[in-house]
């Protein structure tokens, strides 16, 4: 009763307001009232709630979007999703607010005489297809390239791969997940022979200790962090933060341990040293399930163009590994890592205690590392030596930053060396792809070409004459944009950018294609814990904005590959997914059928006989285990995971007299990656309007820098001016400065170094040398 009165009352008030506004309109023609109040929606409005995954990070929270009169007007957490159980973070709650932004790309824009001219989409796609065809006939297949995204949906990634590798026949396809996940992939492949984490988020409910390696989860994976905090208060689980910067995560942790940049390699080895020295090794596990190997060292840093590296693994034994570890006693490591001997022993004791359950979490600190693959290997070493892996509450867990970095980039394989199943170098995988795609197997080239950084170097050199980017903003997110921006601006390369909003990348485009945002199309994403999530289109896209997958198909048709893409516009997502599923049939990677995905809030693969596999490699949970033992690391031919001997090596650029500070870059809770979406959401922009450079208070004091003062940061590559931030959001260690990279008006990536991990080719955004001066 009460409710209806308030409802009626708010209705009457609304009517009264409207009558006042109408009266005003007759008196003052052309009068405008503040829009937000005019459209104010009563609280009990009859919203239609539709399920989907969040658009932002790799956690993959389930969301419910409230639809009213064909518009998305509200978001809440999906209580049925086991990922977030109804909770979201501030970005998630406000995500849909960006799509109505006034500068939304609604029509195709074609650059004519230096100006962008609105063009019908059909004509723009003609231009793209013709340009692509001409480039191929003039300069060959490898002169065209495509750069996609971990935000592309699974069908979009699949069509991109089929189009480039199956139809055109070039491996010039890479994606921005190279910048965030590549080291995790090579880490998994080298240690276990198969990609993606063995555990799942439910580990949080079982673990006694959470150890985060260079990872500010409170800001980057806040929903998971809240789940950890809940366990901390309910079960007294402990959080240990191991990082180079004091953050919110450190404040919430039970112990915060700081280390000198790059020395995480040494500390991880020291932990293994202590585990072996104190006889905490799970001997039967290591004997049954592990091999030991070493690879090449002094691999370089990929700083020069056309850099090539292939690792040469060599089998060793446990004794040789023990001998190698002798250089990594806590006493020796403590000298250069600035981690106390006590802290190293403390960490080792936690890992070594057979009665505690531990999950290690990491994200960009470990992956964006010139020895990122090694660092991933080293964390696995610790878990393998102690046998704490693939069990509820025990295991290493690599987090992701994009909503479908796993689902699209890694599983569909939008990397130059990847196919939807396996790699291009493997003839069997090529045959499989050729069979499902119905193309001659010779068309799929066996040699990988450009990874992300090298792709943009090739653009700069003039080797690539045509590049098409989708759902990504490389001119803010690449390292050393001071080289790649002028490179993309060169006339030698035709640039096509598909995006939802104008970005610094679309500023250099020859053709800009308007893409639809995630809830404006059907799609599927795959999150960090192998969960595939489906959603249906919820609202119409504005103007001519179209799903990326459909724009690929349209261009492919115009280039004469129509028979390879026999999908219908209405139903292409379903048709593509069903075709893609054939690649992963079987118990090791079986994907759930679409009918199941439509019903459930996401399903974890391998999906076998109607059941998700939550812990892989463990015979109790994983039906793919076949060796009769408790564990089977079936990614490797002999079912054994590899413990890698990986040494400590210095960073390519270290602070010196001229450039005395480390520069670390990263993110903040309010903004997601390059901010093209979150900065268009008023709540988030108002809370974090611009980037900043963070100092340790002692450094600021000795330099005489006060909060808010403009500071110019310069490296050997470029410079960037930002306001100083002292004692605000975080606290870098002495001798280090930190800058978030979301701000397209303060491009810190002009300053960063494009050195990368030779195995994964993932750049290191966390370490380079800079000098600071008052601007």
């Amino acid at each position: 009763m009460n409710k209806s009165v308030t409802n009626r009352r708010s209705f009457i008030k609304k009517m009264a307001m409207i009558s006042a506004m109408t009266a005003a309109a007759t008196m003052f023609p052309g009068i405008l009232f503040a829009k937000e109040q005019e459209e104010g929606i009563p609280e009990d409005a009859n919203l239609d709630w539709k399920k989907g995954p969040c658009r932002f990070c790799g956690v993959g929270c389930g969301i419910l979007v409230g639809i009213e009169n064909g518009k998305a007007v509200a978001v809440k957490g999906d209580p049925n999703s086991s990922v977030n159980k109804g909770l979201l973070c501030v970005k998630g709650y406000h995500q849909i607010m960006c799509i109505q932004s006034k500068d939304r790309l609604t029509h195709a824009l074609v650059k004519k005489n230096g100006k962008y001219v609105q063009t019908p989409l059909n004509e723009a796609l003609d231009i793209v297809a013709n340009k692509m065809k001409d480039t191929i006939s003039e300069h060959g297949k490898d002169a065209v390239a495509m750069y996609t995204s971990g935000q592309s949906t699974i069908p979009e990634g699949y069509v991109a791969s089929k189009f480039m590798k199956g139809a055109i026949g070039t491996n010039n396809l890479d994606c921005n997940a190279r910048l965030c996940m590549a080291s995790a992939v090579t880490g998994f492949l080298t240690t276990f022979g198969t990609d993606e984490p063995m555990g799942c988020y439910e580990d949080i409910d079982h673990a006694d200790y959470f150890i985060t390696w260079g990872n500010n989860m409170a800001e980057m994976h806040p929903v998971l962090f809240s789940r950890m905090l809940e366990q901390k208060s309910q079960r007294s689980a402990k959080i240990i933060d191991f990082a180079t910067r004091t953050t919110r995560s450190s404040l919430a942790s039970d112990r915060s341990i700081l280390f000198e940049p790059q020395t995480d390699l040494a500390v991880a080895n020291a932990i293994c040293y202590e585990i072996i020295k104190n006889k905490w090794v799970n001997n039967s596990f290591v004997e049954k399930h592990c091999n030991f190997s070493k690879g090449l060292t002094n691999m370089g840093y990929g700083l020069e163009d056309n850099y090539k590296f292939t690792d040469k693994p060599e089998k060793i034994d446990f004794e040789a590994y023990k001998e190698f570890l002798k250089d990594y006693s806590p006493e020796k490591v403590s000298r250069y890592s600035k981690v106390s001997v006590r802290d190293i022993k403390y960490l080792a004791a936690i890992y070594g205690d057979p009665n505690t359950k531990i999950v290690s979490y990491w994200c960009m600190g470990v992956n964006q590392h010139t020895r990122g693959t090694w660092m991933n290997n080293l964390i696995y070493n610790i878990h393998l030596l102690t046998g704490k892996i693939s069990q509820p509450g025990n295991g290493p867990f690599s987090l992701t930053g994009q909503p479908s970095a796993c689902g699209t980039a890694r599983e569909v394989g939008t990397f130059t060396h990847k196919l939807p199943h396996g790699v291009v170098m493997n003839p069997k995988d090529r045959e499989m792809a050729a069979k499902i795609w119905k193309v001659p197997v010779e068309r799929i080239p066996a040699k990988p070409t450009y990874h992300a950084t090298e792709m943009f170097r090739a653009v700069d050199r003039g080797d690539i004459k045509f590049i098409w980017t989708q759902a990504t903003n490389p001119l803010v997110s690449l390292p050393k944009t001071s080289r790649y921006r002028p490179g993309m601006e060169k006339k030698s390369c035709f640039v096509v950018v598909s995006d939802v909003f104008p970005t610094p990348t679309s500023d250099v485009a020859d053709v800009i294609l308007p893409a639809s945002w995630h809830i404006e199309k059907d799609g599927l994403y795959g999150n960090s814990e192998r969960r595939t999530q489906h959603w249906n289109k919820m609202v119409d896209a504005p103007g001519e904005a179209t799903a990326d997958a459909w724009m690929f198909i349209e261009v492919a048709k115009r280039m004469g590959y129509g028979d390879l893409f026999p999908y219908s516009k209405e139903n292409h997502v379903e048709e593509i997914y069903n075709e893609y599923r054939q690649f992963h049939e079987g118990t090791k990677h079986g994907l759930a059928p679409l009918e199941v995905l439509k019903k459930e809030s996401g399903v974890i693969w391998p999906y076998v006989e109607g059941k998700s596999t939550q812990w892989r490699f463990n015979a109790k949970y994983d039906p793919a285990c076949s060796n009769g033992e408790d564990f089977d690391f079936y990614g490797k031919p002999d079912g054994k995971a590899i413990i890698w001997q990986r040494p400590f090596e210095e960073a390519p650029e270290k602070p010196d007299q001229e450039y005395p500070f480390w520069l670390n870059t990263g993110r903040v809770i309010e903004h997601w990656h390059t901010g093209s979406m979150t900065r268009r959401i008023p709540v988030l922009h108002q809370a974090m309007p611009n980037a900043y450079v963070e100092f340790h208070p002692d450094d600021a004091k000795s330099l005489g820098i006060s909060n808010g003062e403009n500071i110019k940061i310069t490296s050997r590559r470029g410079s960037c001016t930002l306001p100083a931030s002292i004692n605000q959001r975080g606290l870098p260690t002495k001798g280090q400065v930190f800058v978030p990279f979301f701000d397209e008006n303060m491009l810190i990536n002009d300053v960063t170094l494009d050195a990368f991990c030779p195995i994964s080719k993932e750049p290191d955004y966390k370490k380079c040398a800079v000098k600071v001066e008052k601007a």
């Binding site: 709650y93 404040l251 922009h685």
Partner: protein, 237 residues
């Protein structure tokens, strides 16, 4: 004889243990109900964020607390006790010890709260129990009159309720007030002393600023001409 000795020694032991236990409990009884003050953390800590996770390690189960409607505070009472929104509240009750700073008097009730029969109310919880010189900012009220005729334009307190601070129906409200020294949200927004209008429904999700951000509006003037696209630097209208 031996038997007697055993019995005597038995009674002696009983007597000694009685004295020990009695002494121990007597000493315990002398201690005041005093909760040790949380130390200001040393070394690396972030001043602006220091209170964010405070109080969640205290054994306070907010979800299990019943709502005591009879003694609820209202937001009106809350603001009436402050000269302006954000000002330190004055002390509306007689104080136990005028000579004390407050470190071991005020804190007894105001660190964790609880019902105080003497004042018929729940003690409000302070968001900064580590600052023990309470009387530096909080003063008592000993007269109702003013020295001279007085006027002061008290700014309106931030509005609360549906739609006042949130951007969309059902979206989390943003923080409409300054949070300096009040980074510990839960002190005022949960428990029996929280004003009923601002009591949070989900105090168990400790990490408040994951969803609720302070409304900050300062923007920078930046040269946006770096790019071809001539937009306002911060994309504001």
């Amino acid at each position: 004889m031996k038997k007697r000795l055993v019995i005597i020694s038995f009674f002696v032991i009983i007597f000694i243990s009685f004295i020990v236990i009695w002494n121990f409990s007597y000493q315990k009884g002398l201690e005041k109900a005093y909760i040790p003050i949380i130390e200001t953390p040393t070394g690396d800590f972030i001043p602006k964020e220091r209170g964010v996770f405070k109080r969640f390690n205290a054994e306070v189960d907010y979800l299990a607390m019943p709502i005591d409607e009879q003694y609820e505070r209202s937001l009106k009472d809350y603001y009436n006790n402050r000269a302006y929104p954000g000002a330190p509240p004055s002390i509306p009750h007689p104080v136990a010890n005028e000579a004390s700073f407050g470190g071991n008097t005020c804190i007894q009730c105001h660190e964790n709260g609880g019902f105080v029969p003497k004042f018929d109310a729940y003690a409000p919880v302070t968001p900064h129990p580590e600052m023990v010189n309470c009387r530096q900012c909080h003063v008592t009220k000993n007269t109702n009159g003013t020295f001279r005729a007085f006027t002061f334009d008290k700014p309106a307190s931030p509005k609360v309720g549906t739609g006042a601070n949130n951007a969309m129906p059902g979206s989390p409200p943003m923080i409409p007030h300054q949070i300096q020294m009040r980074e510990n949200c839960i002190a005022c927004h949960a428990g029996p002393s929280a004003p009923k209008e601002i009591r949070v429904s989900h105090p168990n999700w400790m990490y408040c600023i994951q969803c609720h951000l302070p409304k900050e509006t300062q923007t920078l003037q930046i040269n946006a001409s770096v790019f071809l696209r001539q937009i306002n630097s911060t994309n504001e209208e």
